[in-house]
């Protein structure tokens, strides 16, 4: 099993979710994060003083998937999240050793 961490642009969430649902992904966990990267932040101003906001709002998806499904899912995310403009985000794949469904205690693939 793998954990896919996907950092995407906030307004793409709906689209990505739909794309994933379509190919059968049934679970994911989402958080609001701030990203720092090549996409530069902007200058804000407050009571006459300027300051730079380096961090931009992003959405982080965490999806644990079966190894077989990995590539399909990565593709789906890339396709649905891409705008081609800087700041589109990243995908990171991390090994998962075990997973448990709390409700039933089921483990492994069954738990996803």
């Amino acid at each position: 099993m793998k954990l896919i961490k996907a950092i995407i642009k906030p307004f793409k969430l709906e689209e990505v979710k739909d794309a994933l649902a379509e190919i059968g992904v049934e679970g994911m966990t989402v958080s609001e994060v701030k990203g720092f990267g090549r996409q530069k932040g902007h200058t804000e101003i407050y009571r006459g003083s300027e300051y730079t906001v380096d961090f931009l709002p992003k959405i982080k998806l965490e999806i644990v998937v079966d190894d077989d499904e990995l590539d399909k899912i990565l593709d789906a995310i890339v396709n649905s999240a891409q705008t081609g403009k800087i700041g589109d985000g990243k995908l990171f794949v991390i090994p998962v050793e075990q997973s448990v469904r709390i409700r039933t205690g089921e483990q492994g693939k069954e738990a996803l």
């Binding site: 804000e44 101003i45 407050y46 009571r47 006459g48 003083s49 300027e50 300051y51």
Partner: protein, 493 residues
């Protein structure tokens, strides 16, 4: 003009000196360019009334009742300014200090009203004093006697036009609400790092003593009132004795004119704030080696609610300072107040767009207040057209002033020093430029009051610093005063 002196005269055994002062004041006010006394004249029946009941049936009562109602309504409007201050200050500060700010504002209004009862009113309008200082006692006799109005001792005069165009009680309520604003001004400037206990002591002394003493100089018959010496046609001062004997004045020298308190309330509060801020130092992390790091306010809607409520309340602040519901005066004062506020906001919007290159909301909000503070001294004396100019200049000044204080590392989270202090000065000067007041008189008034406020507040802050301390620890500042001082958070889910 706040002719509170009338009260002092009718209520107390006045000494010679005061009588003289009063008679010169009387003449002065009759001939005054900005005479606001028509109302009282009309509503003061010539034949003395015997009881409150018969007063109510007298001709003048209907007008008196309207006047009195307006003063009460004005008091309510000034009261709502305290909510305005509380929300504006909260909005412009960080989330983690919100409980602290709200608590301070709750304290200020309650302490303000109670202390004004206990000591402030009689300090503010002392019956007999040296023109500089008298500490008043609590309100007692006349204030509470009249509870039973049938039989017993009943100082009914305080309830009729023999006292003023409103009852003693309305007078108290309006002035009490007014008084508490001085401390509120300071509250915003010292926010986010001041120690709660130190602030409470400072605010109490400032409202109960500092403000009322300074206020007595102008509105309580003190030395600023007497600045306006009577002059004869050749410009020589007419001796008091001659005035008494009936000599008529041709003009008046250097009268200090401050209608509703650009200096006496706002510059007072602003300079008291400046002093406290200087003792206190800036918030941690504001001025770094790499420049000014803005500490952004946590809620612009709260700030905007605050400013609109302050604008609303100002109709009572200025309009109520007419001290009657005189149709001409209150209407005009409300118009100049509104025009100056709106012009101030437009000017701030424009200037901040030009200077900062962005239409800055927080500057627009300060612009309203700048316009309001600016017109406060001359709301009755400056024409509507000139009130637009006064307000616009004020709105422009405030933008530069806020930026300048920031450059000088005077850290004022809400801009109180600029809005109240600097625009208060400007407003007082504006009466000389656009309202016919004496420039010298205005400058004397500004200097005396502002200096006093600064010194009083500075000394107080220093004493507090060397005793209980004025500033929370670095760690407390970081965690926020809400947790460190109150063990409470302002927001939760």
């Amino acid at each position: 003009m706040k002719l509170h002196i009338r009260k002092s005269l009718s209520n107390r055994h006045s000494l010679w000196k005061l009588l003289l002062l009063a008679s010169s004041l009387f003449i002065f006010s009759s001939a005054s360019l900005w005479s606001q006394d028509n109302a009282s004249a009309a509503s003061e029946p010539s034949a003395p009334v015997e009881t409150y009941g018969s007063f109510k049936e007298s001709e003048g009562y209907a007008t008196f009742a309207t006047d009195n109602l307006w003063i009460l309504l004005a008091a309510f409007l000034v009261f709502i300014m305290h909510l305005g201050f509380a929300t504006l200050e909260s909005g412009l500060c960080q989330k983690k200090n919100t409980v602290n700010i709200l608590f301070k504002n709750c304290f200020i209004i309650s302490m303000g009203v109670i202390s004004y009862y206990a000591i402030g009113f009689n300090t503010h309008y002392p019956g007999d004093f040296n023109g500089f200082f008298k500490l008043g006692g609590p309100l007692t006799d006349a204030f509470t006697d009249s509870v039973n109005d049938d039989g017993l001792t009943h100082s009914f005069a305080n309830l009729t036009s023999e006292y003023a165009d409103y009852t003693y009680w309305s007078d108290f309520l309006f002035q009490a609400m007014f008084a508490a604003t001085a401390a509120t001004i300071v509250s915003g400037a010292v926010a986010e790092r001041v120690k709660l206990s130190a602030f409470l002591v400072h605010a109490t002394a400032l409202v109960a003593i500092g403000y009322t003493v300074a206020g007595s100089w102008h509105w309580g018959g003190g030395f600023l009132t007497t600045l306006g010496d009577a002059l004869d046609a050749d410009g020589n001062v007419i001796a008091a004795a001659a005035l008494e004997a009936g000599a008529e004045a041709d003009s008046y020298s250097n009268a200090f004119y401050d209608f509703a308190g650009s200096t006496v309330v706002h510059a007072f509060g602003g300079f008291a704030a400046l002093a406290f801020v200087m003792v206190l130092g800036p918030r941690k992390g504001k001025y770094t080696e790499s420049g000014i790091k803005p500490i952004v306010g946590h809620s612009m809607p709260l700030a905007a609610i605050g400013v609109f409520l302050l604008f609303l309340g100002w109709f009572g602040f200025n309009g109520g300072s007419v001290l009657s519901a005189d149709s001409e005066l209150i209407s005009r004062v409300c118009v100049t107040t509104a025009l100056a506020a709106c012009a101030g906001a437009l000017a701030s919007m424009l200037v901040s767009t030009l200077v900062i290159k962005k239409p800055d909301l927080s500057m627009a909000l300060n612009g309203f207040l700048a316009g309001l503070v600016g017109i406060t001294a001359g709301a009755d004396a400056i024409s509507p057209a000139m009130s637009i100019v006064t307000g616009a200049i004020s709105g422009a000044i405030v933008v530069f002033s806020i930026i300048a204080f920031d450059k000088a590392k005077i850290d004022d989270p809400v801009g109180a020093i600029s809005v109240h202090g600097i625009c208060g000065i400007w407003g007082t000067l504006a009466v000389a430029f656009f309202g016919g007041a004496s420039l010298t008189g205005q400058i004397i008034g500004i200097v005396c009051v502002s200096l006093f406020a600064f010194v009083f507040s500075y000394a107080l802050a220093l004493i507090l610093k060397s005793t209980i301390g004025v500033r929370v620890s670095e760690d407390e500042e970081e965690r926020g005063l809400d947790i460190s001082e109150h063990g409470q958070e302002a927001y939760s889910s």
